[in-house]
Symmetry: none
Subunit: 209 residues, 4 copies
DNA sequence: AATGAATGAGGATTCATTCAT
DNA sequence: AATGAATGAATCCTCATTCAT
C-alpha cells in the first residue's frame, strides 16, 4: 500500500538510470552488462530504459559522455587561471587530478573506454577530442611557456607531458584493476605529491642543491 | 616417440589458435569476440577449438597467460644481472619496456586485462601476481639500493616506481586506444629515452649542474 | 440532459478513434498496427483508447463491424425494392457495388478480413453472416426468380452469383494490392459496366442477336 | 537411443522449413507467426532456422516466392500450347486454375500476399510481376486473338479477363476465408465448369440460339 | 474524461557448445 | 583428429496495457 506500483518522476529518471548504468558498465563492460541488472539498480523496469534511451549502445554512450564531458573544463580553468611559476602549477595540476579521481568515477570511465575502445571507436574519439587533446594542450602550453622562461629543461613538451601525467594514470588504473585483485592500497594524493616533487626536481634546470 | 602417419600437426594447433584468438580478443574484448571468428582466422573449424580448450573462458585465460608470462622474467634477468649505477639501469629498463611493447602484443593484452578485469578477476590477479608484483619488486629493490647508496633521493620507493613506469604505460595505452581514434602517432622509443633523462635528473641527488 | 461545462466532446471520440484505427489497420494489418500510431492519428493519448475500447482486439472488431455492417442493407433495399427484369437489376447491383467500393473503404476492410481471418475467425464469421450470406441470398433469390421466369439460364444459382460478383471482388483487391505495387490503374465503374454486359449476355437465354 | 539428438540433413532442411513456415504463415499471417512454432513443426530448433534464413522476413519472402514462382509457367505452357478455339481454351484455363488451387497451397499464398501487402510491398510486387502480369498477358492475348477472329464480343480485353478469372479468385478466397467461418462448402471444379459455360455463352457472339 | 510514464510478458535473434559424421 | 550442422539458453527490445496524476 505504501509503495504504489508506479512512480512518475520523469525529471530524475535519466540521471538515475545513468548512475545505475555507470555502475554496471564499469563492473562488467558493455557486452556483459545486462539491461535487466541496470533497470533493477535504477529501480525501474526494463521497459522504462527505452523511454529515455533508444538503445543499449546509446545508454552506454550517454553514460560515458556525461561523465567525461564535465570534468575537463573545470581542470583547465583552475590551472590556466593563475600565471604562477611552473614549480607551483605542476603540483597543483597533479593534485587536482588525483582529487578528481577520488571524487568522481573517472577511473571507471577510463577503464570502460580502454576496454571498449575496439567496439566503440566513437567513444575513444570523444575521449581523445574532449579530454586528451585538451589535457595535452594545457600541459604542453604550460611546459612550452616554462621552457621559454628557462624554468623547464628542453625536450619535446609532449613527452614531458607523458612524464608528468603518466604516473597519475597508472595510479588510477592500479586502483581500478590491481588493487581489487589483491594489490596493496595506493594513496593517490600521496602519489601526486611525491611524483610532483620528484618530477619537478628533474624538469627544472635550477634546483636547490 | 609416436610417428603418426596422417596426423595433422596437432603440435602447432594450440599455438595457432591462441595467436588467432589473441587478435580477436584484442580487437573486440572477451564478450564480443566470436568463436566463429577465431576459428576462421585460425583456419580450423569451430568444433576443433574444443579439442584443445574446454571453454571460451579457458581459451581467453590461456591467451592472456601465455602472452603475459614469458615476458616478465626476461626483463628481470636483464635488469638484475648487472650491478650498474641507477643512472644506467633506469634507462635500460625503460628502453627494454618500450622495445618489448613494440615487439610483442603487450599493449593489447594490457588493454584486455584492464577491460575485462571486472569479469575475470582471476586475470587481474595473474597480472598482479606475475607482472605487477615482480615489476614493482624489481623497481623498488633497485631504488632502495640506490637510495642507500645516495644515488636516488629519498621518498617512498613504490611511488618512485610509478614515476618511472607510469609514462611508459600511458604511452602504451595511448597507442592502443587514442592513436587509432585520431591521435598523433607516438614514438615509444623516444618517449622512453626522454622520460628516462627527465625522470633521472630528478630522481638523482647529484646532477650535472 | 447533462450539461458538463468543461467536457471534451466525448460523443465524437469513438468515431474519431475508429476512423484513425481503420487507416492504420488497413495499412498494416492487425498485428503490425501500433496503438501508439492510432492514438496519434486520432489526436488522443494512448490511455484514452482504453476509455472507449477494452482492448486492441475490441477496437479492431469495432472498426471492421462498423464499416461492414451499414453497407449491406442499403444495397439489399435498393435492389430488392424494384421488381425489374434481371437484365436491369444485375447492372444496377454491380454499379452499386463499384460505387460503394470507391466511396467507402470497403476494399481495405475486405483486405483486412482476408488477412486476419486466421487470427480472428470471428471476423470472418461476421463477414460471412452479415455480408456474404445476405449478398448470396439476394443474388440467388434474384437469379432463381429469373430462372423461373425463363430470364436466366439454368444452373446452380450460387455459382452464377460467383460469376456475377467475382470480377468485382477481383477488381477491388486489384486496387488495394496490385495497383500500389505498380499495376496499371483500374476503373471499377467501367469494369462494372462491361462485366454486367458481358455476363448478362451469357446468363440470359434470350439475347439481342 | 533410437532418436539421436541431432539429425544432419542439410539437403532437405530448407525445403522442410519452408513447408512448415508456409503452414504457420498461412494460418497466422506474418506478424502473428512465431518462429518457435515454425521450428517445432519443421522438427528443428529455433536456432536452425537461422542457419538457412537470415531473418523472419527472409523466411517469409522465401516461402511466398518459392510457392508463387513455379506455378505460373506451368499454366502458360499448357494454355499457349494449343491453337484451339476460344470456346475450348477458356474452360481449359479455368479448369487448370481450379485444379492448381486444390493441388497447391495457392489459396493460402494469395491470402498471405493480400494480408501482408501493406507490410511487404515487395511481395505484392513479386506477385504482380510474376503472376498477375503474366496471367493477364496470357488472357488478354487469347481474348484479342479471339476478338480478331470474331469469336469473342468486342470490349476491353483486360476487363474481359476480370470477368473470366474473378469468379475463380473469389472461389479461392471463399474456401480460405468464409468456408472455415461456417460457409457452405464450395466445389471449385464445378464452379470452374459452370462459370466457363456461363461466361462463354456471353463472350461468344455466335451461340446456339 | 484525459494523460503519458511505467510496466512486463512475449518473441526475435545470437552464439557458445555439442555431437553425429 | 576434425568437421560443421544443430542446439537452446540467454538477452535485447517491443508494445499492449495499467495507473498515478
Amino acid at each position: 500500500m505504501k509503495q504504489p506500483k508506479f512512480q512518475r518522476r520523469a525529471e530524475d529518471r535519466p540521471r538515475e538510470i545513468c548512475a545505475a548504468a555507470l555502475e554496471v558498465f564499469a563492473e562488467k563492460g558493455f557486452a556483459a552488462a545486462k539491461l535487466d541488472d541496470i533497470a533493477r539498480r535504477a529501480g525501474v523496469s526494463k521497459g522504462t530504459l527505452y523511454l529515455y534511451f533508444t538503445d543499449k549502445e546509446e545508454l552506454f554512450r550517454a553514460v560515458v559522455k556525461n561523465t567525461i564531458a564535465p570534468n575537463i573544463d573545470a581542470v583547465r580553468d583552475a590551472i590556466m587561471a593563475a600565471d604562477l611559476p611552473f614549480a607551483q602549477l605542476a603540483p597543483m595540476f597533479l593534485a587536482r587530478m588525483s582529487e578528481m579521481a577520488t571524487r568522481t568515477p573517472l577511473g571507471r570511465v577510463v577503464k570502460m573506454v580502454i576496454g571498449e575502445s575496439g567496439n566503440f571507436p566513437e567513444l575513444a574519439k570523444v575521449w581523445h577530442d574532449q579530454i586528451a587533446v585538451k589535457a595535452f594542450a594545457i600541459m604542453t602550453g604550460l611546459i612550452e611557456r616554462a621552457q621559454q622562461r628557462g624554468e623547464v629543461r628542453p625536450g619535446n613538451p609532449r613527452y614531458h607531458a607523458f612524464s608528468l601525467m603518466g604516473p597519475m594514470l597508472m595510479g588510477l588504473l592500479y586502483r581500478e584493476v590491481l588493487q581489487p585483485a589483491g594489490g596493496e592500497p595506493l594513496d593517490l594524493q600521496l602519489l601526486a605529491r611525491q611524483h610532483a616533487e620528484t618530477a619537478l626536481a628533474g624538469l627544472l634546470l635550477e634546483k636547490a642543491s
